[in-house]
Symmetry: C2
Subunit: 220 residues, 2 copies
């Protein structure tokens, strides 16, 4: 909150501070409800700094989506879920990891680009496209492992690795909405649990505490 003075060490990173402020404030209040002044105050910079770095509020939106894409890419690339040798194990580790990082305040675990997409998909194509790139770019990082696991373990599948990768993101995004509605991150984790169960089912891998037993359908 301390404003950088003329010769403060923070000089030079107003842009980054604004992008970080955007990341957090927009996740709390949404894009349209977040004013330029909100962002400046939260970043501890002035309006002059804002419009020095960003031509318009919308261009800040694009930059924020790209910043999100970059930082989350790096974050996931260095995450430990890539360690297992088996591709399916990597996928399950990914899902466990996604579940583990759903914690704290809503704005800390929800997805900036998912939030912005909802608001601007029809009115700000530039922002929407940047958000779209981030979402589908991340989904694409899962495809190779899904494809490998599919080839290794499944026959006669009627789904593509691409669609399943996208589905994982849909489940996460939807879980965030329910979590916001109820004010409870457990609802997002709960959906990831169902998704994990789906993966175990379609890849035919037993859970530690499995539900592999079935009752014979009774006639009603």
């Amino acid at each position: 909150m301390s404003r950088p003075t003329k010769n403060s060490p923070e000089r030079g990173d107003a842009r980054t501070r604004l992008l970080e402020a955007a990341r957090d404030v927009i996740r709390k209040k949404g894009f349209a409800a977040t004013s330029v002044d909100d962002l400046c105050q939260s970043a501890g910079v002035t309006k002059g700094a804002f419009f020095h770095h960003f031509k318009t509020k919308d261009s800040l939106g694009v930059a924020a989506a790209n910043y999100w894409a970059e930082t989350t890419s790096a974050f996931f690339a260095s995450a430990p879920y890539h360690e297992p040798d088996d591709p399916l194990d990597r996928i399950l580790a990914y899902l466990d990891f996604r579940k583990a990082i759903i914690d704290g305040e809503t704005f800390e675990y929800t997805c900036l680009v998912g939030t912005m997409t909802q608001e601007v998909h029809d009115s700000a194509p530039a922002i929407r496209d940047a958000c779209s790139d981030s979402i589908f770019g991340h989904a694409a990082t899962l495809e190779a492992d899904i494809q490998a696991a599919q080839e290794q373990r499944c026959i006669n599948v009627d789904w593509s690795a691409e669609s399943l990768a996208r589905h994982t993101q849909a489940v996460l995004q939807g879980g965030f909405i329910l979590a916001k509605a109820a004010g409870d991150p457990n609802l997002a984790r709960e959906s990831v649990d169902h998704l994990i169960r789906y993966f175990r089912q379609i890849f035919n891998v037993a859970d530690t505490a499995s539900q592999k037993e079935y009752a014979k359908p009774k006639e009603t």
Copy 2:
């Protein structure tokens, strides 16, 4: 777009027209980006009418969420997916139905209360609660059938009917986000397909074109 005159037959339904305008415009532009004037213009009424029926813009938001809850409840209650005798068949018919109504322009098939939840969850508790009631109220209509199907066909389950009902809504909401991001309703339908496959798996029911064959896991 035609404004009702003093003695036009539309007199008396400004409130409904505003709620319908809210339903459509907010799904396009989002709540914050939708101005009161936008709504008045779209409904063909004046500001006086707006603030006669709604104390504030936020109270319109609450009313719109409640209107959505009422109209969608009636819509789903009279839908044909309740016909099958078997509870699991009813659930699968529900999911087919949800898939079938994902069509046309984005604002025609997406969920008003999901959209609003994203925006206002932190800043307008009254709206969020109304949205929350709509989402979880609808999810609750699925619980009895899920519970019945579970008791009929599953043993040793580690999931509750309640959580699975919520998960269906999460998948739908998430599918809408991806559809908005890509501008393509197919992405929402695709996620429903995965959800249907999940239901078939956990309830152990064969698909017409099944993927019940599995390859023996190869060593990598």
